[in-house]
């Protein structure tokens, strides 16, 4: 008898042994019974869809793409990828105007940022929020993050020349959030890296990583951006082929590292091993003795770390936690890794608001009980969700590091 040795399916759905452990860890399942669950939506449904696309179930749109099913799967099945690929392939319903707006972060950021004072004022008015909900279906509980009048890329220009003077170089993918909403985080990273003796380079013509476009099925546009980004990243690395490409957003890092090849079929192999979360990379550099950090003696904070779904999938939360624990003045309180419910643009949609809050409820309770001074988190949308739902301040580990660092002493130690 002849045996087939290798499996031949994409995303290895035939490796599923129907154990259902993924369903236990799906944050959505017990909250929204209309969602068929990762096993049924993923490997089970895939068998039917391969026979006939008419078996596609539109309820797959509820999937958060958190990948916690994949983290739980003992058989290595790419459950989340199967579900997202099915949405891309079979969902032919037109993409709503609202979803296009939420997904086109670059366009929205450019327009909103140009009129920042007006936009920010308007987006905080109750009447505008109600209008957005009625006309577009953006939930009125949500507040858009404030737009910055000058982008991070613009602010960086004044620092760019000094960067070449540092002996080591790193490329930084700042992403839409740092660029349009929160340049302070990008500036924190530049300060920290400079103190560590590392110069920062941006990626010329950087576009959105595509996480929002993928979630909203604007796949062709996401793919074009992805191809552009990979080329631009290679150009930014130039002769420094081993330099790291750093991120301050875990979803940007995850998307460009893993979703590009898996979902968009864009080859990133030339730069994939360069891509690293800034906090993870720094923790590793400190560990191997290549970077020294000196902290202010007076800095004290009670800190917990929220593991975003995408950093859970990347497997790098361990580094961020190590980085925080380096700071002597920090009292670290752990909290179980679980989804906060926002899932990027998902929680902004009127129809998902209640689900989004129900998913996060348990986490919010735990955080309120821990009552830290600040929640550290590598994801910006988790930050909005947790700040809105608990009132507790959330900061990227890099910003916490920047607050705790004695810059002069650090610069001296790395000279």
């Amino acid at each position: 008898m002849e045996y087939q040795v290798q499996n031949i399916s994409r995303d290895n759905f035939e490796q599923c042994i129907k154990c259902t452990v993924c369903t236990v860890y799906c944050p959505l399942l017990s909250v929204n019974p209309d969602y068929p669950g990762p096993k049924q939506a993923g490997p089970d449904g895939e068998r039917y869809r391969l026979k006939n696309p008419a078996f596609y179930d539109s309820a797959l749109k509820y999937c958060l793409n958190c990948k916690r099913c994949e983290v739980a799967c003992p058989s290595g099945v790419r459950i989340g990828d199967i579900i997202q690929r099915a949405r891309i392939r079979y969902d032919r319903s037109p993409v709503k105007l609202r979803d296009r707006m939420l997904a086109n972060t670059d366009f929205m950021g450019t327009v909103a940022g140009a009129l920042a004072p007006v936009t920010n004022f308007m987006l905080r008015r109750r009447i505008v929020k109600q209008g957005l909900q009625a006309v577009l279906g953006i939930d009125s509980h949500r507040t858009f993050p404030a737009y910055s009048a000058t982008t991070f890329a613009q602010q960086f220009k004044s620092l760019a020349d000094a960067q070449k003077g540092y002996p080591r170089q790193a490329v930084y993918f700042h992403g839409c959030y740092v660029n349009y909403n929160y340049p302070a985080l990008g500036l924190d990273l530049v300060r920290v890296l400079n103190a560590a003796g590392i110069g920062v380079r941006l990626i010329k013509g950087e576009r959105c990583c595509g996480v929002a476009k993928i979630a909203n099925r604007l796949t062709d546009s996401a793919r074009a951006d992805a191809r552009h980004n990979i080329k631009a990243m290679q150009a930014a690395l130039g002769a420094d082929a081993d330099a790291p490409v750093l991120f301050t957003g875990s979803s940007c890092a995850f998307t460009m590292r893993d979703e590009y090849p898996h979902l968009l079929e864009v080859d990133n192999s030339a730069v994939r091993s360069n891509m690293m979360l800034a906090s993870a990379w720094l923790a590793r550099e400190v560990e191997r003795g290549a970077v020294k950090l000196v902290f202010k003696p007076e800095y004290t904070r009670r800190v917990t770390y929220h593991t975003s779904c995408h950093i859970q999938k990347l497997g790098w939360a361990i580094y961020s936690i190590r980085l925080l624990k380096l700071i002597p003045g920090i009292t670290f309180v752990p909290v179980e890794s679980q989804c906060c419910g926002i899932a990027g643009t998902y929680g902004f949609k009127k129809e998902n608001y209640a689900t989004s809050q129900a998913i996060g409820a348990e986490l919010f309770d735990k955080l309120r009980r821990i009552a830290p001074d600040v929640v550290a988190c590598d994801c910006e949308t988790c930050k909005w969700q947790i700040e809105m739902s608990t009132g507790i301040k959330v900061e990227n580990p890099i910003s916490i590091l920047a607050e705790a660092l004695d810059f002069e002493a650090t610069a001296a130690a790395n000279r």
Partner: protein, 413 residues
């Protein structure tokens, strides 16, 4: 990254070894590619139920009847018993109540109301000795629409044991919502909802249908993350209340996994969930230098000592190719035959030879590689060859005792 001990496999065996080592102040990392087989646990652990064709009352007495390459034979009956007796405390420290001792197997009930024997059983379930459960008149309560629990079968089984049984079903508001999708009204989803007020509602409904019953049985769907919820329910219900295992995912197994992991973390252990060991890097002298993982890439996990606790074929600690059984990470020697026709017995219910396939080790649980022992590597749990956990009813016992044994060897070396 550098640790004292790196463990591949984060299930029962890996966590027990990791916890014991972390308690002894070793710096430990566990790599776990996905969730473990504990999620299929019925709530009872077997040490040794059958050996040499005999059903055992005392598990330790059966060890001498096992083949010489069996893990229990390598440890010896006395040491196996000592590790077995140390286990309940380790679980209690994690918040897991286990009833039983290694001196005698106790009885508990299967989902169909049959008597089963085990070494340890979680506090959720009824345990007793002898052939009759300690009750006369019970009521079996199910949730309307919950299909993974079979009250009538259970009632028939208990009836045959001389217990009067009634069945009743209750409707709980919070759980009702799940019925919109019948396929996903599973134990874990129900358990997530049965807390707080929903639990009070459940207690009221149970008390309504309880009547003169001296015992209440419910499906094992209480306590997703801690035993506290069941304790609360028990306080609110007038008569003794026990759970009965349901179709997996097992809520008690999930809880045990989470609590053990939490305990390991509390003791300073590093648990890498969803990462997987992709390569082992060896020293020139044949010892292990480091493990490379999928997520940490070129940041290898270095350690003085390593434990392989990757589980059996189910967990891919051992892999079956069409004509080969192999250990994928280190390329260790396996106790198995490459003759595929000798893997199975055509009689499905007969002893299946592949069940005993696993890594070959020396007497000190160092796996063999090309015939020689890898001195800084230890194997524990289902990855070990020479045992047939299914027929012996020894799976959990082997996982726990060999884990404690290798932890001990490392601590005392």
């Amino acid at each position: 990254m550098k640790f004292d001990v790196v463990i591949t496999g984060g299930g029962l065996s890996g966590l027990v070894a990791g916890t014991a080592l972390a308690k002894a102040r070793r710096k430990v990392a566990i790599i776990s590619s996905g969730q473990s087989a504990l999620h299929f646990c019925s709530g009872s652990f077997g040490l040794l139920g059958k050996a040499g064709g005999k059903t055992l009352e005392s598990p330790l007495a059966g060890i001498e009847l096992l083949p010489p390459t069996h893990p229990y034979r390598k440890m010896g009956a006395e040491a196996t018993g000592a590790y077995a007796d140390a286990a309940p405390l380790l679980f209690a420290e994690a918040g897991i109540t286990l009833k039983g001792t290694s001196r005698a197997n106790h009885r508990h009930l299967s989902p169909l109301g049959k008597l089963r024997s085990s070494w340890l059983t979680m506090g959720d379930f009824m345990t007793f000795s002898g052939e009759r459960p300690p009750m006369k008149d019970c009521v079996i309560v199910n949730f309307e629409g919950f299909l993974d629990f079979y009250p009538s079968y259970l009632a028939d089984g208990l009836g045959a044991l001389g217990v009067r049984c009634r069945t009743a079903s209750v409707k709980i508001e919070a759980v009702e919502r799940l019925r919109r999708s019948s396929g996903e009204m599973r134990a874990a989803s129900v358990a997530r909802l049965l807390r707080g007020e929903a639990l009070e509602e459940l207690a009221i409904e149970i008390n309504k249908v309880c009547g003169d019953a001296d015992t209440v049985f419910i499906p094992a769907v209480i306590g997703f993350d801690s035993e506290e919820h069941l304790q609360r329910l028990r306080r609110m219900v007038g008569v003794p209340l026990y759970c009965v295992p349901v179709t997996p995912m097992s809520v008690t197994g999930h809880r045990a996994q989470q609590l053990l992991r939490h305990r390991f973390g509390q003791l300073g252990g590093t648990y890498l969930l969803g990462d997987s060991a992709v390569a082992a890097h060896m020293n020139a002298d044949g010892s292990v230098r480091a493990i490379e993982t999928a997520s940490l890439c070129d940041d290898y996990l270095e350690a003085d000592r390593f434990i392989l606790a990757g589980g059996g074929i189910f967990s891919r600690g051992i892999v079956a190719a069409p004509h080969k059984i192999y250990e994928p990470l280190f390329g260790l020697d396996v106790q198995a035959t490459d003759d595929r026709d000798r893997w199975f017995d055509a009689d499905f219910f007969a002893r299946q030879p592949y069940m005993s396939f696993g890594v070959a080790t020396d007497a000190a649980f160092h796996p063999l590689r090309g015939g020689s022992a890898v001195e800084n590597l230890y194997a524990a749990g289902a990855v070990l060859g020479g045992a047939d956990p299914l027929t012996e009813e020894s799976g959990a016992g082997i996982a726990i005792t060999t884990a404690l044994h290798v932890a001990d060897l490392i601590i005392n070396s």
